[in-house]
Symmetry: C2
Subunit: 424 residues, 2 copies
């Protein structure tokens, strides 16, 4: 029986060997392989659904709540949806081999940079099983081998999906070893991965704050971390109240459990009475709990005290991932900017304003991966921002910031062509 | 008296505050500041030369060799050369504020990515004192504050140069706190820097293998490492012998003490007799020691046994930084590629060939920051490859690979402008 160590290392080594071959696979072959994966997701569903039933049964037995069980569940419709997502990745331009910064130097040297794959990516995730396919296809299309280490709660589903992907690759003559899935769900595997400098070129942790902080602190392999969004909307004095209320509502309610959902509303005092009334009504109807500073509380008027409460200091700078919003009244753009600088996590920040000067100050001065004007924070997403797919949303500044798609999983090499040049 | 801890932390904090202001300094103001630095290097030389005399005297007392003393020495001519280099950086395009990937999405959102500074860069170096000015001006122009920690042997010179730079910044109304220099030369400062996540956005170590390996292993701040070049030239069967011998000579001899100097010559057996004869003559005249495998040795003919020796296994995969070259005869492109894969450090590799198919295989399959055809490895340099300046040569794959100039010291943020868009 394989030990913990040997499963990871065996598979990581296999991935490294396979990565070499994958570097030179043509865009056409890669897209044909993605189509094979999409077809398998549509036509070979039985094994996946069966494996998923095991995860669901274990989830029920472990007392998992409805919402988590729903996230875990796979059925024919969801698998077909995943197939559609795979085809979207196939339709994206292939970044590998793209050249940029080409120039001919005065000495005749022809210089360019050419995009190349990173090599082997280690993905650590705790999310829904569709992430297995999402990450596998984005890595494959960007020419990278991948070692997938999903969460315990979806281990059977992840295994069946990885087997489906590997089978589809093999069916069209591609190397299934480019996609590896780790069965062992022991935490020690994560530690092995993030210290596996000999095997991995990049680690991407997707999961809760505990995982992200752990990887950021302990990884010796380069890791791009993100996914923690303490997200603010600042409603400026000149904002259109109705518009602003709609955006605040959408940012908070459209999908409260994710990293780009709104956490804190900052509102300029001059617009606060009208805005807070409008917002409280809309959010209250959706069951959102408002944790308000004293000034906001005073402006709320008569409210349902179950849903409107005084804020505690820790309600600012917190990622709620739930129908909770902290609210603070400020007297100036400066005060809003200072609040965001102190409490933001550099993920997503939006300003709602009718004043271009305020918009530009916000865009210039807020230090976050995605800064927005008059739009919902929920748009910080690779598909929504035009990348077509994403493997993560980075809050790092190095290499990739914000949504990471195909190009963000590449490196480049410098190509220099001469005809005998030497340096003088 | 300041303790070790407080000098670094005090200065890093000052840099962080100053970095915020530097983000919005216009290109014109930045270039004016660089011109002030250049002028000071030309006209205020006395204090620097005086400080340099202290370093030189300490170097002599410590028994430093001629070559190191020469690297350390600053005089009027060298300072004027540094001024010229500063003006070259001023003449480069400013990367900050540059936008890319701009598009309008179907829902009307206008999306773009905008280049922004990284923030605070920590530079650890052991090199010549001109590095103090090189790094300071590249960081300033790219909108980054910098904390400079140079080597003990140049501490007086580095201090005088940093004071000159800071004075010049102040003289044109820019914040001198954007450039910090650490006086303390204790090794513990390096450890503090590379674990200073609260203060630094990037660490750049420039120095010997020991420093680079230490930083790569221990840093918790993102670090871009490089500078270790185990550099190969492969002379293919179809190479022009005279051309190839010139390139090998230039790659080895033009400046043997640096990372892009040639370490190992691989030569195809069919061209080896002619090539090795030509190379041995040229290199021998320059005093280069050749460490040859058995086949190369047999082909050398009558040689000076002081300069031509049998290679030991450790002579392959070694960075010599001296007038030493290891030589191996191979029978195929595959054998050369396998040798480079096993022994290369991913820095600079060149192929000398008359066959486009071989050139393309080499460019495609060799995994290195800079891969070259028919040109000297000495061209792997920011200035030579058109970047105008460099702070380091990265052998990392993430963020920046190869020579790092202004753009490689930036991040980006996503800018999203809407007029009320919400996500459906």
């Amino acid at each position: 029986m394989a030990t913990t160590t040997s499963e990871l290392i065996t598979k990581a080594r296999a991935a490294r060997v396979a990565a070499r071959g994958l570097q030179t696979v043509s865009p056409e072959r890669k897209n044909a392989a993605l189509e094979a994966i999409a077809l398998a997701l549509e036509s070979d569903q039985a094994a996946v659904i069966e494996a998923n039933a095991l995860d669901l049964a274990e989830g029920v037995a472990a007392g998992m709540n409805e919402s988590l069980l729903d996230r875990l569940m796979l059925d024919a419709e969801r698998l077909s949806g995943m197939a559609a997502d795979v085809r979207k990745v196939a339709a994206l331009p292939d970044p590998i081999g793209e050249t940029f910064d080409a120039r001919t130097l005065p000495n005749g040297l022809r210089v360019e940079r050419r995009r190349v794959p990173l090599g082997v990516i280690g993905a650590i995730y705790e999310s829904r099983p569709n992430v297995t396919v999402d990450i596998a296809v984005v890595c494959f299309k960007s020419g990278n081998a991948v070692v997938l280490r999903g969460g315990k709660e979806a281990v059977h589903s992840n295994g069946a999906l990885a087997a489906l992907v590997r089978g589809a690759l093999a069916s069209v003559g591609e190397d299934p070893e480019t996609v590896q899935q780790i069965v062992d769900t022991d935490r020690s595997v994560v530690e092995e991965m993030i210290k596996g400098d000999d095997y991995f070129d990049l680690i991407i942790p997707r999961g809760g704050a505990a995982l992200v902080h752990y990887v950021a602190k302990e990884a010796t392999v380069p890791a791009i971390t993100g996914g923690i969004g303490v997200v603010h909307a600042f409603v400026d004095a000149t904002a259109n109240v109705e518009n602003a209320a709609d955006i605040v509502f959408n940012s908070k309610v459209q999908r409260p459990s994710v990293c780009n959902a709104l956490d804190t509303l900052l509102v300029h005092s001059s617009v606060a009475p009208a805005l807070l009334t409008a917002v409280a009504t809309k959010l209250g109807a959706a069951g959102v709990e408002l944790r308000c500073d004293q000034r906001a509380l005073a402006l709320m008027g008569p409210v349902d005290s179950d849903l409107v409460k005084p804020a505690q200091p820790e309600d600012f700078g917190q990622e709620f991932l739930a129908l909770v919003l902290s609210v603070r009244v400020v007297d100036s753009v400066d005060e809003a900017l200072a609040h965001i600088e102190e409490h933001g996590s550099g993920h997503t920040e939006t300003v709602l304003t009718g004043d271009d000067a305020v918009a530009n100050r916000f865009l210039n001065e807020v230090d976050a991966a995605v800064v927005m004007v008059n739009s919902s924070t929920r748009f910080n997403d690779g598909a929504e921002l035009g990348l077509g797919a994403e493997v993560a949303i980075s809050t790092n500044k190095l290499h990739a910031r914000g949504p990471m798609g195909l190009r963000e999983l590449t490196s480049y090499k410098w190509i220099v062509r001469g005809d005998g040049q030497v340096r003088g």
